[in-house]
Symmetry: C2
Subunit: 383 residues, 2 copies
């Protein structure tokens, strides 16, 4: 039995292939690399009875040996109907996947679990990364569990709880007076660390694609009409798209893929602007600022993949403003009892707008990803 | 197919039985009531493939109709080996069940999910409860999802995040200048609310017993040698004991039950004092104070059941001090990457002490419950 069907790494821009069993970052052409797999000896029935975490899909993940898996039980988060709030929005079949119920409280744990495990497997023992907060919390935690050293560079404006999370697990925390790009510049100057920045290593996305695998499995291998995702670096939406394509290649799903919606804030909407202009890549956003701090990414390395994903699925990109984000966060809480993060609430502001414009129909089945627990954003609700 | 095998309610003190399908609180004799079940048409094999939440055990839970289930996907939290920290403690087979990965971030969600669902089913539409914080967060959230009204009375010293959680879901928050007993006195004075205080209604414990069901299922229906639990009101440990007895009655497990350990803080240790004196009930603790605020319960209604549980399983009760609690919280974070709550960390201070005394042996399989996410206690770690 082969634990992983990982075959090689492929560049989605220049098409070059690379050996996966080495320490590697970007393609020499500058593009992120994507993991490619052979046909695994895995059936849908094999999954029944496996533990409810993302490692149930280990054949479709890059870690070759179970001994190298670093896990805290992440994955298989609930996919919950929002009946009362959906009725208020005019979307009867509204579902929320709650990524708050995961170690460190955000979906970033998926990328960290797989990314740290695979980095450890190929020999990495020290990592460094820039972060808007939550990815740093997650990578620091998994690095600690693996016994690896971590350096996390984070803007001063990042959520305070993330600083504490990084410190408590014993990682080195570097605060940056700037945005995530400035933190990235700091990381590039450090020596002796593996750069685990978003999409600069190939495996974080493999962890995040499990959101797509889980949505398909939880819906009985049928697909929703629309999937809505708050988009900063874009790895979540690229990962979901990659997962659905892999499942289609396996013959486990068929029909059109869900229309993927990339949601940004009007305070930082480079991908929306590129989408509206019909560009293949985004341009850096000036003076980025939003209450949904996790999606404050002025220029994402994987922007071209996000734009390709929404293009190929007949999706769209849409920006929503901070007042609407906070209003929807409170409506979800009052009608469904769920305290979601601002990034997750941005989805619902987008759904309201897309429903009003008719882009989302009343009978569409819509899945929104709540990317993290509201508990990490106490200041967004009154005391 | 019968969704629930609920039969009736029974008083563990006077032995009286009561109809379960009515709105009911304590037994007229003053004791909490316990739910009793007929023999369900359920096999271990039936569980395979059911969704990974606590409703997979619906035959052993009190909600009669699936339409009345109010859920946010709670339950089947990970049971994780702590290899590096266990080696440091001298307990090779140390496992932690992480109750931080649940809606509202603590195990209280289990009691709230089942308690709110069943209250709704028997006709309750407004609830009130005193709380040290986390139970109030959970009951307010599930009440909101059910469309029920909630009044939550909480000490001023309760975690700040819990106030925000109660407010954001639209419940009425009453702050109390005192301890949980003072909050309980306030709730008793209110009219028009169902009193959902700890053990004053019979179903919260049914939700919490699922921790015991899950531990048994996750260990392949074998049992650990020791289960360690931080004890305030005591419902968690009573619930685990009840679950294991029910599984034994079903013939799903055999052999001796795990030795149950009730952990308290030296700043509030009424059950430990009663245990050491050989008393059947505790006496109210004066000037209760500890960093593990969730277990600041000077006199628990179910104290006699906790004492019976540890007596009958050859367990024990032990108090640990705040400095040791915080030291273990940091050790777990550094060695395992897990940011646990102070109540959960109290377990590890107890395990260290019990290992040093020889009460826990080096080859014992020990399960510790981390009752909540450290994210709810930011002030316990440095900024």
């Amino acid at each position: 039995m082969t634990f992983s069907a990982l075959s090689h790494l492929e560049c989605p821009r220049c098409g070059a292939t690379h050996d996966a069993d080495q320490i590697i970052g970007l393609c020499p052409c500058g593009s992120p690399l994507l993991a490619r797999y052979g046909v695994p000896t895995l059936t849908k029935a094999d999954l029944v009875g496996r533990a409810p975490d993302l490692w149930r899909y280990h054949e479709l993940l890059p870690v070759r040996s179970p001994e190298n898996v670093v896990t805290m039980g992440e994955g298989m988060t609930p996919l919950l109907p929002l009946r009362r709030y959906g009725a208020e929005l005019g979307v009867q079949r509204l579902l929320m996947k709650d990524e708050g119920l995961i170690p460190t409280g955000t979906f970033k744990a998926r990328g960290a679990a797989v990314g740290v495990s695979r980095a450890y497997e190929v020999g990495v023992r020290t990592i460094a990364m820039p972060t808007n907060g939550n990815a740093g919390s997650a990578w620091a935690a998994y690095a600690a569990r693996a016994g690896m050293e971590a350096l996390i560079a984070m803007p001063l404006a990042a959520p305070e709880i993330c600083r504490r999370e990084v410190s408590v697990v014993g990682a080195r925390l570097q605060l940056i007076d700037g945005l995530i790009g400035d933190a990235a510049a700091y990381v590039r100057e450090q020596t002796g660390y593996f750069d685990a920045s978003t999409l600069k290593e190939p495996y974080r996305i493999e962890g995040k694609k499990t959101m797509g695998l889980e949505i398909a499995e939880q819906l009985g291998w049928s697909l929703p009409d629309v999937i809505v995702y708050p988009t900063g670096g874009g790895v979540g939406i690229i990962g979901i798209w990659k997962a659905l394509n892999e499942l289609r290649d396996l013959g486990w799903i068929d029909g059109p893929l869900p229309r993927l919606v990339a949601v940004q804030s009007t305070g930082c909407a480079p991908i929306v602007r590129a989408w509206e202009k019909g560009l293949a890549e985004s341009e850096p956003w000036e003076d980025a600022q939003t209450v949904a701090f996790g999606i404050t990414v002025p220029k994402a390395l994987g922007d071209f993949l996000v734009l390709q994903a929404i293009q190929e699925t007949d999706g769209c990109a849409i920006a929503v403003d901070d007042a609407d984000i906070l209003a929807e966060q409170h409506r979800v809480a009052r009608l469904e009892g769920m305290f979601i993060c601002p990034e997750g609430a941005a989805n619902f502001a987008a759904i309201r707008s897309l429903r009003e414009s008719g882009w989302i129909r009343a009978d569409d089945q819509v899945v929104a990803l709540n990317t993290g627990a509201g508990l990490k954003y106490p200041e967004t609700v009154p005391l």
